[in-house]
């Protein structure tokens, strides 16, 4: 408990990180209560109300705060529901990267030798292809969809986690508490996951937070390219892709989904920065 208070005290020193945390909490609440917060369903089309500008514009109406799109759908409602998709993509992609990366990293570092060499070779091969290119390859295998995008982003993230976990486990492996536990008769599985892993948590938590931000960004990018979420899913990147042809006539369509992506990614990055300050100050400025 005392540790938690100390953690909060340290974290609060970084004002930007606190702001990031608040936005993340708001985002989470928005996603959970989307049907209550959003005035309309994200998919309801009303062609009579198409391309209405935001309410502060002379031609805007108060019933559509951020205006409507080319199908007369309420932009504000679509952005609200989009938060669900972005958070889901972030959580699932990070989950996939983390679980595989964790196992690969810990096994490589713990057993060393040929196992380490083999696993790290796979990691090197994956890192030798630019992330988005590897993601595109995976999407082209699975076919464009939100599921494919999440899977692709998850797989692409594995090597980063594997490397971080491996480095931390290598630093812990020969410490006295590990040797003591081994002498006490702990099995390899117990040593890896119950003894060593909890002591490697800090860099993993920091990377997962930052990884969440980049997963949201990458998913929006793939959807923008038409390789992720498909219409009419209210995904922010896909919404921006739809807005391309309206850049001269309905500029509001290009602003707000982008602001949503930017704020989400920035908040997670700020939070990650704050966590790094507290949990792993050595990593700072690297």
């Amino acid at each position: 408990m005392e540790q938690l208070f100390e953690f909060i005290k340290q974290y609060k020193k970084n004002k930007a990180a606190v702001a990031g945390f608040i936005v993340v909490v708001l985002l989470l609440l928005t996603a959970i209560f989307a049907p209550i917060v959003a005035p309309y369903s994200p998919d309801i089309q009303n062609l009579a109300d198409r391309l209405i500008p935001p309410m502060w514009d002379a031609k805007g109406v108060s019933s559509h705060i951020l205006g409507t799109d080319d199908f007369g759908r309420d932009l504000f409602s679509r952005i609200i529901f989009g938060s669900r998709i972005s958070l889901m993509v972030g959580a699932i992609s990070v989950g996939v990267s983390l679980s595989f990366g964790l196992v690969m990293g810990i096994v490589a570092a713990y057993f060393g030798g040929k196992t380490d060499l083999f696993i790290m070779r796979i990691v090197d091969i994956m890192l030798s292809i630019p992330a988005i290119l590897l993601a595109i390859v995976i999407v082209s295998i699975l076919g464009p969809s939100l599921f494919s995008a999440m899977t692709a982003i998850g797989i692409v993230g594995i090597p980063t986690y594997a490397r971080i976990v491996r480095a931390s486990v290598l630093a812990e492996r020969e410490k006295e508490y590990v040797i003591a536990s081994r002498i006490n008769g702990s099995s390899n599985i117990r040593l890896m996951f119950a003894v060593i892993l909890p002591n490697c948590a800090s860099p993993i938590i920091v990377q997962a937070t930052m990884g969440f931000a980049s997963a949201v960004l990458e998913a929006a990018g793939l959807s923008f390219l038409g390789l992720g979420a498909q219409p009419p899913t209210p995904e922010w990147g896909a919404m921006l892709s739809d807005s391309l042809e309206f850049i001269t006539t309905a500029s509001w369509m290009i602003f707000y989904p982008g602001v949503a992506i930017f704020l989400t990614v920035l908040s997670f990055n700020l939070m990650g920065d704050g966590l790094m300050d507290v949990l792993d100050p050595k990593l700072k400025d690297k």
């Binding site: 988005i132 990147g237 982008g258 700020l270």
Partner: protein, 334 residues
């Protein structure tokens, strides 16, 4: 140094092998029959069987891989399923556009990134420092394609200062020498075309260069702060060197090592940005071509482009490692 180069070179072999295996297995990992997927729903059984034979899909898997590697070693990257053109020819037609965009973006990123990093480090904890470091974090969080759209809206649609998309105005024609329009127009003394090509480049280059710029700025700042604490900086000051001399001659040169490395390693993120930027600005480069290939399930194009880019990436990483070892004796001696 020689043994380091040989060792490092040998390490690239399994990586290259792994990449070819990954690219080769792509077609086989796709659910369903790849030949049927390429030909679409309307294809009859005979045409599917013909294409299977043409693609060598009727042979055992190891034979297929062997043939694939044999063809690659002869520089045969296959034909586009869509246009029936040699993939390598199509790739080379588009590659200069991506290279030109990436180079101009990197130039912009290096100049502004290093500049902002130096000022932040020298004026630490000033408003400028906070501003530029927040700007750097914002830059990393910015979706490249959105930044591109916003730039188009303000500078092309509202202010009408710069063109919306493309690489060159239709009224201009440039003789292709290197494929880089800025270079070719200067070589042929075609100044109006040079200005037009430059105008087309400004917005995509800013969009693409923003993330690298943010990373370079952060890296330069932290590296400069480290170096400024060193004894030799104090010595330089004590000797009576001017502030300018201390910062630019004594500190910057030593602070550049990690920055140079990160610039080399950013090629991957630059390419990722290029795919998105090219789509936003209808830039006729590799990125846009690749995305179209995915829509059309043109596997030969996706496979070869992935392979060629991975090879370029491996070579660049190799060169960066060598440069790093060259600058830093600790690496090559370890």
């Amino acid at each position: 140094m020689f043994s380091y180069i040989v060792k490092r070179l040998l390490w690239t072999i399994p990586t290259l092998f792994g990449v070819t295996l990954l690219v080769f297995s792509m077609v086989h990992l796709t659910p369903g029959d790849p030949a049927a997927a390429i030909l679409g729903d309307k294809a009859n059984k005979q045409s599917i069987a013909d294409l299977r034979a043409q693609m060598g899909l009727d042979k055992p898997l190891y034979m297929q891989y062997f043939i694939y590697i044999k063809n690659l070693s002869h520089g045969d990257f296959g034909k586009s399923a869509n246009s029936d053109e040699e993939v390598m020819t199509e790739f080379m037609d588009r590659f200069p556009a991506t290279v030109e965009l990436s180079m101009v973006a990197m130039f912009f990123a290096i100049i502004l990134g290093i500049g902002a990093g130096i000022v932040s480090a020298v004026k630490r904890y000033s408003i400028f420092d906070y501003g530029s470091m927040f700007g750097a974090l914002a830059g990393v969080s910015m979706p490249v394609f959105w930044l591109g759209l916003v730039l188009i809206y303000f500078f092309s649609v509202r202010l009408e200062w710069l063109p919306v998309s493309g690489r060159l105005g239709y009224q201009f024609d440039i003789d292709h020498i290197t494929g880089l329009y800025l270079v070719d127009s200067l070589l042929t003394d075609n100044i109006p075309a040079f200005w037009d090509a430059l105008k087309h480049l400004i917005l995509p280059a800013i969009a693409l260069g923003t993330i690298p710029m943010a990373i370079i700025a952060r890296m330069t700042r932290s590296s400069m702060i480290e170096v400024m604490k060193e004894e030799y900086i104090k010595t330089a000051r004590a000797k009576g060197c001017s502030r300018f001399q201390v910062i630019f001659i004594h500190a910057l040169r030593n602070a550049m090592m990690p920055v140079v490395t990160i610039i080399g390693l950013m090629l991957g993120s630059l390419f990722a940005g290029a795919i998105l930027t090219e789509t936003t600005f209808s830039w006729p480069g590799i990125g846009k071509w690749l995305v179209n290939a995915v829509y059309q399930r043109d596997f030969p194009v996706i496979q070869s482009t992935t392979l060629i880019i991975a090879i370029i990436f491996i070579i660049v990483n190799f060169i960066v490692d060598l440069l790093y070892a060259f600058i830093n004796p600790k690496i090559r001696l370890s």
